[in-house]
């Protein structure tokens, strides 16, 4: 026991403190196993993988022994891969923009209705976020197809005369990505909107603000941080999305995750696949660091500004 280490003159206070130290020490012992496991699950596989990206593929799933950066120079000089990086970024940015435009008003609406209806709708959104993706894609495939509901509705309304291709192109992938991130963004932004005190909006109304003015000048600025977080999250999810681009792009929309899977499973080109993966992870991390730096600068700038009474 820790108590025995303390001399006879120890005060009651220090003996309590050492008791707490001993118990904290015991709790800390629990950490060893999870830490060791997480570290080995993270570091060992990643290390072999990144090492792989510095070796040339010599066919049959083998890589040569000599160190080379050829895989990286190929990715960064070949127009095909640069286009894929651009395509992934562009689609992710568009999807993020649309997803936030849909998700924030939805979260705001759900926060304002409360009661069993809100619970029911949140449950539906949660289900949409958690039910396995292929089922969603199957549904979207039926809805967006040439004889799907969307095309038939547009034709019935005489907006179009022949079916518009909504699948196997960027539009299909975009819809898939939005469908993928919106439910998670609604849940995340719902938590944000809930923390905004209702009376702020009421005060704006009393001072004569319209609904729109109160929404854009009170609610949106209050939720700015949360919205930015949602954008980053959505962007990251889209950059890594694999199933939607593959199914709804029909093999014609080549984003980085689709190419990674093709290189590794179809072509067994592990070196290039590993290099593409590394490029993707680093690219996303850099984007996040850039956003983080921007936020930090904003916070600091605001802190410098003199306080208004």
């Amino acid at each position: 026991m820790a108590n025995e280490l303390i001399g006879p003159g120890a005060t009651l206070l220090s003996s309590v403190a050492s008791d707490e130290d001993a118990s904290a020490k015991q709790w800390r012992r629990l950490l060893w196993f999870p830490l060791a496991l997480s570290a080995s699950l993270l570091i060992l596989p990643q290390l072999t993988f990144v090492t792989m990206s510095f070796h040339r593929d010599i066919g049959m799933g083998q890589v040569s022994v000599d160190f080379t950066i050829a895989n990286y120079t190929q990715i960064l000089t070949d127009v095909f891969y640069l286009r894929a990086i651009w395509e992934t970024t562009y689609l992710s940015a568009c999807a993020t923009f649309c997803a936030v435009i849909l998700a924030f008003p939805t979260a705001y609406w759900l926060a304002s209705i409360e009661g069993p209806l809100a619970m029911l709708l949140l449950t539906l959104i949660l289900a949409s976020a958690l039910i396995t993706v292929p089922i969603k894609l199957m549904g979207l495939d039926i809805i967006l197809g040439p004889s799907g509901i969307v095309n038939r509705a547009f034709e019935a309304l005489s907006i179009i005369s022949s079916p518009v291709p909504l699948l196997n192109n960027d539009i299909g992938v975009l819809i898939g990505l939005i469908q993928y991130t919106v439910p998670i963004l609604v849940l995340m932004l719902f938590a944000v909107v809930q923390t905004i005190p209702r009376y702020l909006e009421e005060a704006a109304h009393i001072h004569g603000a319209s609904n729109a003015a109160a929404f854009f000048q009170v609610i949106v600025p209050m939720a700015k941080q949360g919205i930015l977080g949602a954008c980053v999250l959505s962007f990251n999810m889209c950059m890594g999305a694999f199933t939607s681009p593959l199914i709804l792009g029909g093999g014609r929309v080549l984003t980085l995750p689709v190419l990674i899977q093709q290189k590794i499973i179809d072509d067994s080109d592990y070196g290039l696949g590993a290099a593409l993966s590394t490029v993707l992870v680093c690219f996303v991390l850099l984007m996040n660091v850039a956003v983080g730096a921007y936020v930090m600068r904003e916070v600091r700038r605001r802190a410098k500004r003199p306080h208004r009474g």
């Binding site: 709790w27 950490l31 039910i131 993706v133 849940l187 719902f190 993966s277």
Partner: protein, 271 residues
């Protein structure tokens, strides 16, 4: 009351989110000839449920075993990590937790590729092949779900009242009795929520598992995914509807057990 724009967007968004499931379920009830998909269905029948191939049952069993083992292990490990980090009075507890969240920075498809590659190396150097059993999938799934269980439990540990545990020990309870009778019940909702997330992510995963499945260890989502691409038969609609119903029951069940607050996702989500 005038209809507000936010309300209209909200209703349309929820319709948009729910529509794929409604369409799949509706089309699964169609009578029609075997290879045509029609929504709305022209007639109602359960024919597509009668022609379910046995491979879906095998895949379902694999996914279930995998999901339950992943959830159990991840919850136990998450509990250890959360208690150690939050109760150990560490200065760097937050940094430690963000270490456990690191897998969230890696896209799923990359994790799949990384583990496939790692297992090949393992076979080449030691002769041991984790992919010959469920272990291969289990390790990769543990990797992707641990951030969820750790975060879900760590968020609740500081809210528990440690003096209740001290009281139990003062009154003569052993460490184990205190843990099972005092600590564990206080953390139960968090543990359930963590296990639920681990299960549903493992059970529904495609991008990681796609790299690691073998004909003997085929998971249900990957089976559905592959059949959708290469061998489309209307019975997939029936399987998908059943999976949606099972997931929905699980989601509602866990909400009843722990409350909606616990089930809303932690703010960090995967790619």
């Amino acid at each position: 009351m005038p209809l507000r724009t936010t309300t209209v967007i909200g209703i349309l968004t929820i319709l948009f989110l729910v529509s794929p499931f409604v369409v799949v379920a509706g089309a699964s009830l169609d009578t029609g000839n075997a290879f045509q998909i029609r929504f709305p269905p022209h007639g109602l029948s359960l024919a597509r449920y009668a022609e379910l191939q046995p491979r879906y049952f095998y895949a379902f069993r694999t996914s279930l075993v995998l999901g339950v083992s992943t959830a159990t292990l991840a919850t136990a490990i998450g509990l250890m990590a959360a208690l150690g980090a939050m109760r150990g009075r560490l200065i760097a507890a937050e940094t430690l937790l963000s270490f456990f969240r690191m897998p969230l920075q890696i896209p799923f498809v990359v994790t799949g590729a990384v583990y496939l590659q790692f297992y090949y190396q393992l076979v080449a150097t030691t002769g041991f092949n984790p992919m010959s059993s469920l272990l291969g999938l289990l390790l990769a799934h543990l990797f992707i779900v641990l951030p969820y269980t750790v975060s879900a439990i760590a968020a609740v540990v500081p809210r528990t009242n440690i003096s209740l545990e001290e009281a139990a020990e003062t009154l003569g309870a052993t460490k184990w009795t205190t843990f099972w009778r005092v600590t564990f019940p206080m953390l139960r909702p968090a543990l359930l929520a963590g296990a639920f997330y681990a299960f549903i992510i493992s059970f529904g995963d495609v991008p990681v598992s796609l790299f690691l499945v073998t004909p003997a260890n085929m998971t249900l989502p990957v089976q559905i995914f592959q059949d959708m691409r290469f061998d489309f038969q209307p019975s997939i609609l029936a399987v998908s509807t059943l999976v949606s119903i099972i997931s929905m029951v699980l989601i509602v069940g866990i909400q009843k057990l722990t409350g909606l607050d616990m089930v809303l996702p932690p703010n960090q989500r995967p790619n």
